[in-house]
Structures are given as structure tokens and as C-alpha cells.
């Protein structure tokens, strides 16, 4: 009697497990790109890579992030060139004052450090994000 009860319990548990695994896959199999909830395991296997890529690029968050990253990337170059030019003007106006030339040098070096940091960050993001920026 006890073993039968255990067997029923086990069967019910198995059914429940199978149900939870199968339900989402069958329910959302038609749509590979859901607007709510994450895509199930089966969807990602059946959907082609192009479809998944479209899912990613059509995502509003991805769109906004790409806009911001592109704008800031372009701004970095302009700002670094501006800083170097200001440093050059500072150097020109330094006269024979060694501390003033030191300040100008420091400004130019800081601009170059910023550029190097940006390049390394961009390369790191390319490596980190699947599919690249």
C-alpha cells in the first residue's frame, strides 16, 4: 500500500516536471522573438541565427544602447583632438616658464591616455558582447 502511494506520487511529480518543460516550448514555438519573457530553450535551437540577430537588433534597449555607444565613440575622437590642440596652445603660450610647459605636457599626455583607454574599452566590449558592437 505504501509503495503504491509512493509510485503514484513519483508519477505525478514526473508528469508535472514534463509539463513544465514542455509547456512553454509548445506554447511559444511559433514565435521565435517574444516581447515578454525570455525565449525558451527549444526556440533558440529552432530559430535561425538571422532571426535571433533580428530579435537582438529590433530590441528597443539594444537600439538605444547602440545609439548612445555610437554617439559617445564619435565624440571621444573629437574631444581628444580638442584637448591636444588646447595643450598645444598652452605650450605655445608657456613662454620660458617650465611649470607652464609641464602643465601643457600633462594635458597632452592626459588626452592620449584617454584615447588609449577608450580604444582598450572598445576592444574589450567587442570581445565581451556576443556579436560585437
Amino acid at each position: 500500500m505504501k509503495t503504491l502511494k509512493l509510485q503514484i506520487k513519483r508519477a505525478a511529480l514526473l508528469l508535472l516536471l514534463a509539463g513544465t518543460l514542455l509547456l512553454p516550448a509548445t506554447a511559444f514555438a511559433a514565435d521565435s522573438c517574444q516581447t515578454s519573457g525570455s525565449p525558451s530553450v527549444k526556440d533558440q535551437k529552432t530559430a535561425t541565427s538571422a532571426e535571433l540577430q533580428k530579435c537582438l537588433t529590433d530590441n528597443p534597449i539594444t537600439k538605444k544602447l547602440n545609439l548612445i555607444v555610437n554617439f559617445l565613440s564619435a565624440a571621444v575622437g573629437v574631444v581628444v583632438i580638442g584637448v591636444i590642440i588646447v595643450g598645444g596652445i598652452q605650450y605655445t603660450l608657456a613662454g620660458d616658464n617650465p611649470t607652464a610647459t609641464g602643465a601643457a605636457k600633462q594635458r597632452i599626455v592626459n588626452g592620449l591616455i584617454a584615447l588609449a583607454t577608450f580604444i582598450f574599452t572598445y576592444a574589450f566590449l567587442q570581445w565581451l558582447i556576443p556579436g560585437g558592437l
Partner: protein, 128 residues
Amino acid sequence: MFAAILIKALSLFAASSDPCPSSNSFFGLPHWWKYLGHETDALGRCSPTFKFPDDTLAVALAVIDILLRLAGIAAVISIIIAGIGYITAAGSADKITSSRKRIVNSLIGLAVVLVASAAVSFIGNSLG
């Protein structure tokens, strides 16, 4: 994507035509609206157009142009000051070395500015 935006910005840099040319000049400095588009109203007055995210870089490039011109003016003035100092040094070794150092420093500053702007135009030419 970064390259595409940079190319767009640098192509603006290459095609330099003032949308609203005016006879007013301030030390020959270029205008900040140099790379913007423009529209003409009913009275024939020209005004530059500015759209927020896209045109910010165009204004930034124009500001860089203004800075380049300022750097040239600063170098010329500094060298003239150093030359006057050299002339009026009258044999004083201190004043001569000071003037010479001023000339060298202004030339170094000019070289830095030229290298920076040359790097911009070189990258712009090689990308697009």
C-alpha cells in the same frame, strides 16, 4: 559603426563650405555653424539648422577649426614677443636664453597642434 560615424563627421571636415557666408570676420576665425545645414526664410535671410544628436559633432568639429586658427595666431604672437625680447636683450645672457626658450616652446606647441590636426585629416582620408 564607430568608423561609419567618424567617416560621416570627417567628410564634413573635408567639405568645408560655409552655409551662411557673411562679410563679418573676427580675426579670420571660422564660424561655429560652418558644418551645419541651413534654411532661407521669406525675407531671404539665411539661418543655420541644428538637430540635437546628429549635429553636435558638426559643431564640435567647427570648434576644433576655431581652435586650430587660434593656435596659429597664438604661435605668431608668441614668436613676435620672443623676437622683441631678443632684440632688446642687449647682450644679457639671461634674456637671450629666455627668448630662445620662448621661441622653441611656441614652435613645439605649433608642432603638437599640426600633428593633431594632420592625424585627423589623415585618418579621414584613409577611411573615406
